[in-house]
Symmetry: C2
């Protein structure tokens, strides 16, 4: 079982990247696509993000055997409703949303009787929109599938093959566990980054100009993920509330402990904590999930090292 006609609803960073990746790595498949924004549809056509840009979501899915919803998590129910009438019975529906229990529930309601296997490629950049996508986005990244208990194994296998063809490693996981894992590896980091960037821009004693000027001391790292798409992230926090609040509680406890260590001048506790965290970065680099060059290799400085 192989997908030959892939419909992509939503042509931003993720949808556009899937379209380009199918063109480059799955030449046997053809793509259709739709985006609610007319300007995005025009730009998608100019860039060739999909072979055919349609004027409605229904038209895009009419002949599809795989439909991938690439809209913010909060818009999944509406996107499902828009395609429900035109969706072929045999077509598999999937998505790329960052919270999976909420998506599964929304699509079960919007598309009763249709096969749905939610997916989450753990990949992205801080860019969004029709100009942001690129074919290699999923190379060496993980894509998590959260098939329901009654999913057809042949469809799970076909969706696995699809993502592997796009360059991803595929992992199967329960939706609830996915939501907890991503709460700590993605959602909490984004919330923290959004918070600190907001804090830094609201101070009375330090100007925003100074914050920008001296950002190379660490702050700039946070501004990258705090530049991510606001609608997407609003929806993530609204739909993965419980797991995010649980992780946030743990973070706050740990921060309070370090705050106290600073206040009482407990250098040993600070040193012990700061020593522990080095090992995790080493593992991330060993597993190919980040660049080993210092400073992410973003300056060319690292290249001058012997």
């Amino acid at each position: 079982m192989t997908f030959k006609r892939v419909a992509i609803i939503g042509l931003g960073l993720l949808g556009g990247s899937i379209g380009l990746a199918v063109r480059d790595y799955l030449p046997g498949a053809i793509t259709t696509g739709y985006d609610a924004d007319p300007a995005t549809r025009r730009r998608a056509a100019e860039r060739g993000l999909v072979a055919t840009v349609c004027e409605t979501a229904a038209a895009a899915v009419r002949n599809a055997d795989l439909v991938i919803l690439c809209v913010p998590v909060g818009a999944m129910a509406a996107a499902g409703a828009e395609i429900a009438a035109a969706l072929p019975l045999h077509a598999l529906v999937s998505d790329v949303g960052s919270s999976k229990q909420a998506v599964a529930e929304a699509l079960a309601v919007a598309l009763p009787g249709h096969a749905v296997i939610p997916a989450h490629p753990v990949a992205g950049t801080e860019r969004s929109g029709a100009d942001a996508g690129f074919a290699a986005l999923f190379q060496q990244r993980w894509c998590i599938l959260t098939p329901p208990a009654d999913a057809d194994p042949a469809q799970v296998a076909a969706l696995t093959d699809f993502w592997e063809a796009l360059g991803a490693h595929v992992e199967i996981m329960e939706a609830a566990h996915h939501d907890r894992v991503l709460a700590v590896t993605s959602h909490l980091p984004h919330l923290i980054a959004y918070t600190i960037v907001g804090t830094a821009s609201d101070l009375e004693t330090v100007t925003q100009g100074e914050v920008i000027k001296y950002s190379a001391g660490g702050f700039r790292d946070f501004t990258r993920i705090a530049a991510s798409d606001p609608v997407m992230w609003r929806d993530v926090f609204l739909t993965n509330k419980d797991a995010v609040l649980e992780m946030l509680q743990r973070f706050s406890e740990d921060l309070t402990a370090l705050q106290r260590a600073i206040r009482v001048g407990d250098g040993d506790q600070l040193f012990d904590h700061f020593s522990r965290t080095r090992a995790i970065r080493r593992s991330i680099i060993e597993q190919g999930q980040d660049d080993a060059r210092p400073d992410f290799g973003r300056s060319d400085h690292g290249d001058e090292k012997p």
Copy 2:
């Protein structure tokens, strides 16, 4: 007034980079250096971080007209005491520490009667040690000087010229203001990053293996700065306690507000906050303080963009 003999005490990332930068960009000056760790001294000699590696700090400064202390902030007083007897009367003493009031006080006590102009080049990577330095570290980065009120203007000008020759932009600031600015642009981000990396590795419901595997969702950005030198950072928090605790208080208030917005499902507040933070990143990139390529350009993906 130009420095011809530069002594560097401490040959890690910063000290080593200064030595290499003087060699490349100030060929008229000669360097001596010392590090308390014999292995670092050996490696410094192998890499040629300074022209002459000395066996004591006193020997390194004996003929110097500029001495730069590149040791953790908590070790400044001891480093000052070590060189006091051998330090030529006319020599200017400076440093590269990340908190400036504490350094000024420590060196005033350790080196009475000597000219001291503290400095802080806002540059670095997550690496440390004798292998970490490179000549271009200071290119396009800011270097903040915090001269005392009675500093000799000719010495301030000479130190400015020195850092500009190494590629930095120089800014003059009061030490107390420096400490507050850096608390928000550097110290708080490091504290937050150290905290979240610790939190993520201590969970019961999500394994450390999962955290590493799915780190590309945002978490990995924090692990880079949480891999920085633990001794250096312990000392920063112990010596810039008041400003760090003040900024941390503001951050905690803002985080609590976002936590509440998530809990009550206030999507508008989340959206408004997440929209505001994009502009700051744009300014940082416009001012050349970060890489404009998506994902810091660390994958090659960005290069495929049209």
